[in-house]
């Protein structure tokens, strides 16, 4: 907790320690001692912040770095904005969380299903509005025309076409390839929600999916 923004220490009349001395000198020394600059918080620590409402800059800092992936060193820079209704921490910057499966695997499922290597998948660290982006390479075989879709489950809610990358491929007797990517703003995703890519081929014709990836980064979170 930065001491620099704590209320001015009470100074009784007649004291030789004046408010000016306290503000100009003592608090600086306290801050140096406590070494409280910007803060890198774990997800649990972020959740443990006291509400900054009404005490902006004291109980909780105005800006934090939220470590969402300690293994890959992914931190999100967030700023508190009391004017936001629900998700009061706005995203200022940082790399997205990223997942991928390069392996080429097939399905002929006419409804959304996982491939042999499920995913890619990402778990949201906090509740909020997120930009979700995914991409894929698809390949149709066998002289048929077919559509292929890649979408994603959002927790217990199954994948829908509205979120999907879709390609119609006419192979004309040989192989037909297509690549696609799509970015969407998904509002109000709960904390610890798994986003898991799913695939379908409405014509039930076996289709390969490879180099599939997903990224997410927040717009604002709570």
């Amino acid at each position: 907790m930065p001491v620099s923004s704590l209320p001015i220490a009470a100074v009784s009349p007649g004291n030789v320690l004046t408010s000016t001395m306290w503000n100009a000198i003592v608090k600086d020394n306290l801050n140096k001692l406590l070494n409280q600059g910007h803060r890198v918080l774990t997800v649990a620590q972020f959740g443990a912040l006291s509400s900054p409402e009404g005490t902006k800059g004291t109980v909780a800092p105005d800006e934090v770095y939220l470590e969402v992936d300690a293994t890959n060193g992914i931190q999100w820079h967030l700023a508190y904005e009391s004017g936001e209704t629900t998700y009061k921490w706005r995203f200022l910057g940082g790399p997205p969380m990223y997942a991928e499966v390069a392996t080429n695997e097939a399905t002929a499922s006419a409804t959304y299903a996982a491939l042999a290597t499920a995913g890619p998948s990402i778990t949201t660290p906090r509740a909020g509005d997120y930009i979700v982006e995914q991409g894929v390479w698809m390949q149709a075989t066998g002289g048929v025309t077919n559509a292929a879709l890649m979408s994603y489950d959002i927790g217990g809610t199954g994948a829908v076409d509205a979120d999907a990358i879709q390609a119609a491929m006419s192979s004309g007797g040989t192989l037909a390839n297509s690549t696609g990517m799509r970015k969407r703003l998904k509002a109000a995703i709960a904390a610890s929600t798994a986003l898991v890519s799913k695939y379908k081929v409405p014509g039930a014709v076996s289709t390969n999916f490879g180099n599939r990836w997903m990224t997410i980064y927040p717009v604002r979170i709570s």
Partner: protein, 209 residues
């Protein structure tokens, strides 16, 4: 039901994205150590000394010796009060964080890295949320964990990364009209009824007119 350790045994690199109780416990231990009364008293003394020196350098110290003593006492008293408040709040903060971590599943980042010609290539990286014993946060996470633990699927990813040229050759042969197939996890191709190794598949594609 697969567990996180099953993935490590199979050859994945498994790291923690966030959610570790151990990390929060360590942070709480540090916060409690920083709130030790002896350490806090020492810090308050240090603040007092530093501040008196600063005031002296600026020519702001009172002339009167009694006032100087009172000033030092006041600074020490207020510094102690502020440090105690800050360290106590810090302990409470980390206690709350530990409780949150205890009530949350861990989020793991699972990477399948394959070495090809001395170069590490990532063929899969996914996040999943579960306890180390494999208790899934939801059905999707559990399904993901079970799928990652499947040996055939694991071997297929290794094959594809290590035999990218043969797969491209097989597709070239298929595009030219050959009947090409290969089961997931298999180490050879079936081309027009013949079983070919990856090297022979590449050679067959090279021989196309």
């Amino acid at each position: 039901m697969a567990k996180i350790d099953n993935l490590r045994t199979l050859g994945y690199t498994v790291g923690l994205a966030h959610g570790s109780v151990e990390v929060e416990q360590a942070a709480l231990d540090d916060a409690r150590a920083a709130a030790d009364p002896n350490l806090v008293a020492t810090q308050a003394d240090q603040i007092t000394t530093d501040t008196i020196r600063t005031l002296d350098a600026k020519g702001l110290l009172p002339e009167n010796q009694d006032d100087r003593l009172k000033l030092a006492t006041d600074i020490a008293e207020h510094a102690l009060e502020q440090i105690v408040a800050a360290t106590s709040e810090n302990v409470a903060f980390h206690e709350r964080a530990l409780k949150i971590a205890e009530e949350s599943a861990d989020v793991w980042v699972v990477q399948h890295v394959v070495e090809v010609n001395g170069e590490a290539q990532t063929c899969a990286q996914v996040y999943l949320s579960c306890k180390p014993d494999g208790t899934g946060w939801n059905d999707n996470d559990q399904a993901l964990l079970d799928a990652l633990a499947d040996k055939t699927s694991f071997d297929e990813r290794v094959f594809q990364v290590q035999n990218a040229d043969a797969i491209a050759a097989a597709q070239q042969l298929e595009a030219s009209g050959a009947n090409v197939s290969r089961d997931p996890g298999a180490t050879s191709f079936t081309i027009d009824g013949k079983t070919l190794t990856p090297a022979k598949t590449v050679a067959a594609a090279d021989a196309l007119p």
